[in-house]
Amino acid sequence: MKKIYILFLALFSLSSLYGQREVTGQITDASNQEPLIGVTVRIQGKTEGAISDLDGKYRLSGVDDQTVLEFSYSGMKTKLETVGNRSVIDVQLDENISLIDEVVIVGYGSQKRSNISGAVSSVTAEEIAELPVLRVEQALQGLTAGVQVTQNSGSPGSPLTVRVRGTGTINNSDPLYIVDGIPVDGLDFLNPNDIESINVLKDAASAAIYGARGANGVVLITTKTGKKNEQGLIHYDAYVGMQSAWKKTNLLSASEYAMLSNEAHIAAGKTPLPEFADPSALGAGTDWLDAIFTEAPMASHQLTFTGGSEKSTYSVSGNYFDQDGIVGGEKSGFKRFTARINGSHEVKPWLTVGTNLGLTNLKRNFLPENNEFTTPLVRALNMDPVTPIRKADGTYAYSRYADTDIVNPLNAIDQTHNSWNSNRIVGTAFGVIKLAKGLQFRSSYSVDATFAQQDIFFPRFDLSNDPNLSDAPAGEKNLTNSVVIQHNKWQTWQWENVLTWETQIGSLHHFTITGGTTALENSHEYSGGANTNLPSNDPKDAYIANTIDPITSQSAYSGADESSLLSFFGRVNYDLNDRYLLSAALRSDGSSRFGANNRFGTFPSVSAGWIISHEEFWNLPKVDFLKIRASWGLNGNDRIGNYGFTSVVLSGQNYTFGSGEVITNGSVPLTVSNPDLRWESIEQTDIGLDAEFFEGRLSLVVDYYQKNTSGMLYAAPIPLTVGANPPIRNIASVQNTGWETALSYRNQAGAFKYSFGGNISFVKNKVTSLGEGGEPVFAGRVQSANANVTKTEVGQPIGSMFGFVTDGIFQNQEEINNHAFQNEGTAPGDIRFVDLNNDGVINQDDQTYIGNPIPDFTYGFNADLEWKGFDLGLFFQGSQGNDIYNATVRYDFTYVNRPVDVLNRWTGPGTSNSQPRVNLNDPNQNARVSDRFVEDGSYIRLKNAQIGYSLPRTILDRMHIQKFRVYASAQNLITITKYSGMDPEIGAYNGALEAGIDRGFYPQARVYLAGVNLTF
């Protein structure tokens, strides 16, 4: 009523000519008295207004004494001023530190955080800007409660493992990534600097609007656009840096190696090698780890243009990013060029059209990663230190002792030519029609197209001392070179139509009703070829046709696959008097991936919230905001392969026919098809609490959830009567239960601004069914023990480590005699394994669970301080309670090098109770899978430390510059861990069944960066 009264007065005064006049003034930031540019000044209740200029000044005409001016600016509290008799009105705006009012992007819309009744975590552009992340996923690491992010590899460009609320399935647990409304596979194409916000939909109710794809969480990424009425700005952001290995395992020197080799030979009843007669004469020998690690440069340059007029917004950016690897330098290097154009224009008052378009070219060079056979890391760790890097003539040397896989790692790196070069277009064009007040229709057509080429070349080489004798072992020579080239084309189009109606009944009942459809088609085509025996050994000449006889030796192949999705969805958000919130969503997804008998799936969800602090009775002055919320929903995981419902017809099922005994091909599907195949489904219940205290300075979010995966795909054994291998069926189930909390505090004392934040996530994972019979799944084979490390069984976490339990070392023969029988050759100095079932013999029945790769909790916390232009940021991230199985030492070989711990080996009674004796043959199988190799993988890491300085306004104004900041930062500066391997941060490179097995991970680099941010 009052508003209408003021409006009436305003209109009345407008119409009376002589009441009108002009006001001017300057708008500044209350915290530092610096002018604020681009503040919207409006006469309350009207659309016309003004924008503050570079000096924070504004001028507005048509006001009178009763006019109320509204000053609004993103991130600041809106301020109202009644003009009265003033003609100059200077205004100071206060920072809005409350998170409650921020607008959060949710599926197919946005909502004020205060009104969300689901569980959504957000990362803003400012947070991303604070730590120069190399990949988008890193921005989520440690910053979002409930999201566990681990680096799969320190190799530049390598994807990260992202798990939203635990490992939802033994199959693909990756979340769904949506960039500007476009579902994308992988994020390597995206330049982190282009990101405006990342929102993670964690509970089923928030993700349910993505139905059959939302089961493992949804990550919504919005890229930057200009703002309406924003002056044109040019941003230049750049950094250069240097990376190096933060840790090297201490390995034996040549003389130590020789000494132990002699001992091992004698213990095995063999004559020591004559050249090791005097170990001390061999000295330190070669430090292979030192040899493979290198200082690697990295750099990023970004130019961004943003702005907006009354009707248009635009943002144009270009970025060049270049990172070499700390192993192999350029051989594991990553280069990325990105260009992005985002813009929109209001064509008619009722119609806005726009486009978001990103172009990416990336090139990644690959070295083998995370296996025990071909990685530079495993080779450097296992190569004997006696062998020099190079021979006297400068060419690479080979080891006389090492076995097949363990070849000279430097030569192997040099001989590796494996590059991936791709061009990707991810773009959308959209139109928004305003049909009536509160009713709008949005239609968008999106394309994601990737064109990639992989080039692999295996050159000729021979490390033989005498090429005529060809004395080098098989792995140290390749006498015929070969080339492989593969082209891939992935294309996705999506057409999405969404109708949104915002309305209210009376002043208490607010509704937002959303409905829409999606049609999506994915297609993938590939072709490739190979050839051998190229006359030129130069990788630049590595083309299939460059051979003497290209036709007879070449091979070629091509193929394609596709999938499609058709969906209908709807959601109602209801809010009663800003106190009671209710949201319900339903999505129906039809997918070509599902078998004919289950083509459509329906995914419902409901959530509710109660903002207690908005109740009349609320009178706790320190608690500004308190909301409790609960949600339930059902989601699906459609990553089940494109044609899982059918089965492959395998040839080679041959029989011999004819008088000439001719092997004749037979073909049959060895696996039964399953037309009932469908999505994996996850049912999740969440209860949570959002609160703010002390005028928004302290904020708290707490969530508890239970997530039940059912219909998890698994090929459980079936009766032999069927006559074929078991089909993949929706039969297994997993449960994740956990809670997570995030707490942040920000305040200001004079010129000193500070903020602290932290979050912690607990999750418990348990397999609840593996189908009828429930046969456990064994996986994670390690070569050093020639056995599987993990066992996934009902009642245990996915991928639990399973093996023998050690109980010290046999000190004498009597102890062996008194213990259960282990092996014929067991001798003093060997490991004593526990006879768990007390049957007097150590065999496979004495294995048990010896480790869990899933952390008890993961956490992150940060501190940000600002004082007179200086800023300091510290960001820690960690993981607690996860185990790592260290399989980097190739015990299956007799001549490999070892970490220095082996120097504490047992050499006689009482000498050691942890390190067994050395013996060339390992008759006791000391290297079998046991708790001896299970290590505590907990760590805390200073992910980022950054110090910056911004020039003050007084200087900038003279230079007509908006912002000039320089900074220096260090990543992975401090890591505290008990893990003895190269890096405790280990992702699930080979999937959930083998997480936590270290087969020689490419460790993360320590990075020192210097950068600049310039805006003008």
Binding site: W350, L351, I433, L435, S443, W495, N497, T517, A519, S558, G559, D561, E562, S564, L565, L566, G590, S591, S592, A596, R599, N642, Y643, T646, S647, V648, V649, L650, S651, G652, Q653, N654, Y655, T656, F657, G658, S659, G660, E661, V662, I663, T664, N665, G666, S667, V668, P669, V672, P717, I718, P719, L720, T721, V722, G723, A724, P727, R729, E772, G773
Partner: protein, 504 residues
């Protein structure tokens, strides 16, 4: 202006509904490349590949799927013993042989598994090939081959385990726990399949040389004969046996000794023979992809003869050849005795073999020169498995005719077999003139010596009701050991839908 706004909205809505209208096509995506069920089974070549794949399980021998006919037919009987390096060498087999075998052996599971794998593959052919547009004669032949193969595996199952789950089509997930049918139901399926196959299959002489080894009309008739004999349906058995005899497609090889040589493979009296060859390059780990057999190496003496020494003939078996007062010449082609030359591998002595066995089986012996030219020779033996010979048909005819009170024709067929064995030596193996029980005993004796160590004996004893008399001293208990135990794993895998045989 409002009009334009709403028109454009309506146009979009109309367009939105388009994919909905044709959603079935939009969501129906079949594999584009690669061979999958969706795009295979379209041409005659596909049909051919499908039936060939159904033949492959005939060759399966070792775990996880496979069997040796001589494990059950010979070792389980009084003709031979397990042998090997000692009791611990394939101990499961020793326990079965002593009739105290457990129901959870890999061997029984391997038998069950191979049989059902073969049945599945035949079912795939029978379900998929009829829809293929191709030459109807060839199609009928392929379906006939599939019906024979399905019958053969069901024959193995029903004679070993009794009534088994009747998987007469590719099982859907809801049918995985299929319970056991009765033995009669299994026999009915075998009979109808074989009758259809007899109609559809060409006779042996109608096949070209490139199809040597394919199932013939005669093979289907002979398997039907075996089935009828097992069920003691003598008149029908005699009739089908006479059809085979009168077809003139088969005859006895003139020289008994030539049958089990390399040259004797697929000879004039071969009716059903599983084909193996010595050059597949298969290995121990991939034994189901082999074209070769392990039988050669398993049955050869150890030591310098480089075998494993299984299937050791018993003294009782050897004495059977002396029952008529002279040495039956077939002994020398069935059993190695000390001093005999083991082909090109040297003279057999217990010292040379390194084991205290007096006899070794001879029929599946292979010479060094016949071994696989590359790869590991052990899994790649080349000897075909002679499953049904014309001599067997003649002896079944004799047995059926005897039971039909037609002793004349019975003696004719019996004496035809003896005449060939005699090899012109008129001092031995005179024509049998006996009648009544003596004639039946003569037929039984003839089966034991003529078909010795070819995997028939145990099943002959069971089907003629003599097992408890003959094998009782070895542990055979009547009412239990006529059938083998169902593999326990399969009872568990079906949650007990498959039940155990009595006594186990």
């Amino acid at each position: 202006m409002n009009a334009i706004k709403y028109v454009s909205f309506l146009l979009l809505v109309a367009a939105m509904l388009l994919p909905t209208a044709c959603q079935k096509d939009f969501l129906d995506r079949k594999p584009i490349v690669g061979t999958t069920e969706e795009n295979f089974y379209r041409t005659a070549e596909d049909a051919q590949a499908a039936i060939n794949a159904a033949y492959a399980p005939l060759q399966f021998e070792l775990s996880p799927a496979g069997h040796f006919r001589w494990f059950w037919g010979d070792i389980m009987s009084d003709d031979s013993e397990k042998g090997g390096s000692g009791d611990n060498d394939a101990n499961e087999l020793l326990q079965l042989e002593n009739f105290n075998g457990a129901a959870n052996t890999d061997l029984l599971e391997g038998e069950w598994s191979a049989d059902y794998e073969g049945i599945y593959r035949a079912n795939v052919v029978l379900e998929r090939v009829p829809a293929i547009e191709m030459d109807p004669t060839l199609k009928a032949q392929i379906l006939g081959e599939a019906r024979f193969i399905r019958s053969w595996f069901f024959y193995n199952l029903v004679t070993m385990f009794g009534g088994v789950p009747l998987a007469d089509h590719v099982l859907a997930p809801s049918e995985y726990n299929l319970p056991r049918a009765t033995a009669d139901e299994v026999w009915m399926l075998i009979e109808s399949d074989l009758n259809q196959a007899i109609e559809d299959l060409p006779v042996r002489s109608a096949y070209g040389p490139e199809d040597l080894g394919r199932i013939t009309k005669g093979a289907a008739q002979a398997l039907l004969l075996k089935s009828l004999v097992w069920q003691k349906r003598w008149p029908e058995a005699q009739a089908i046996a006479e059809e085979i005899i009168l077809s003139m497609e088969y005859d006895l090889a003139s020289d008994y000794g030539s049958i089990f040589t390399q040259d004797g493979e697929n000879n004039i009296e071969s009716i059903f023979e599983i084909q193996y060859m010595n050059a597949s390059g298969g290995n121990w780990g991939k034994n189901n992809a082999n074209e070769g057999t392990f039988t050669n190496v398993f049955q050869r003496a150890r030591g310098q003869f480089e075998g494993f020494g299984f299937n050791i003939p018993t003294e009782d078996f050897v004495q059977e050849f002396f029952k008529e007062g002279f040495e039956d010449p077939r002994l020398a082609h069935t059993v190695f005795r000390e001093g005999d030359a083991m082909g090109d591998r040297g003279v057999f002595t217990q010292d040379a073999a390194g084991q205290p066995y007096a006899y070794y089986p001879k029929k599946y012996f292979n010479n060094k020169s016949e071994e696989a030219p590359f790869g590991d020779p052990n899994p790649n033996g080349g000897s075909n498995d002679r499953v049904i010979r014309f001599a067997d048909v003649l002896l079944m005819h004799a047995e059926a005719a005897y039971h039909n009170n037609m002793e004349g024709p019975a003696r004719t067929s019996l004496n035809r077999v003896r005449a060939r064995a005699r090899g012109g030596n008129t001092n031995i193996l005179p024509d049998v003139t006996a009648s009544g029980q003596a004639l039946l005993d003569a037929i039984y004796h003839e089966r034991r010596v003529e078909l010795g160590l070819e995997g028939h004996r145990f099943f002959d004893l069971v089907r003629t009701g003599r097992a408890s008399d003959v094998l009782g001293p070895l542990g055979f208990v009547s009412g239990i050991h006529e059938l083998f135990p169902i593999p326990v794993s399969q009872i568990q895998a079906t949650n007990g839908a498959i039940t155990q045989n009595p006594g186990y």
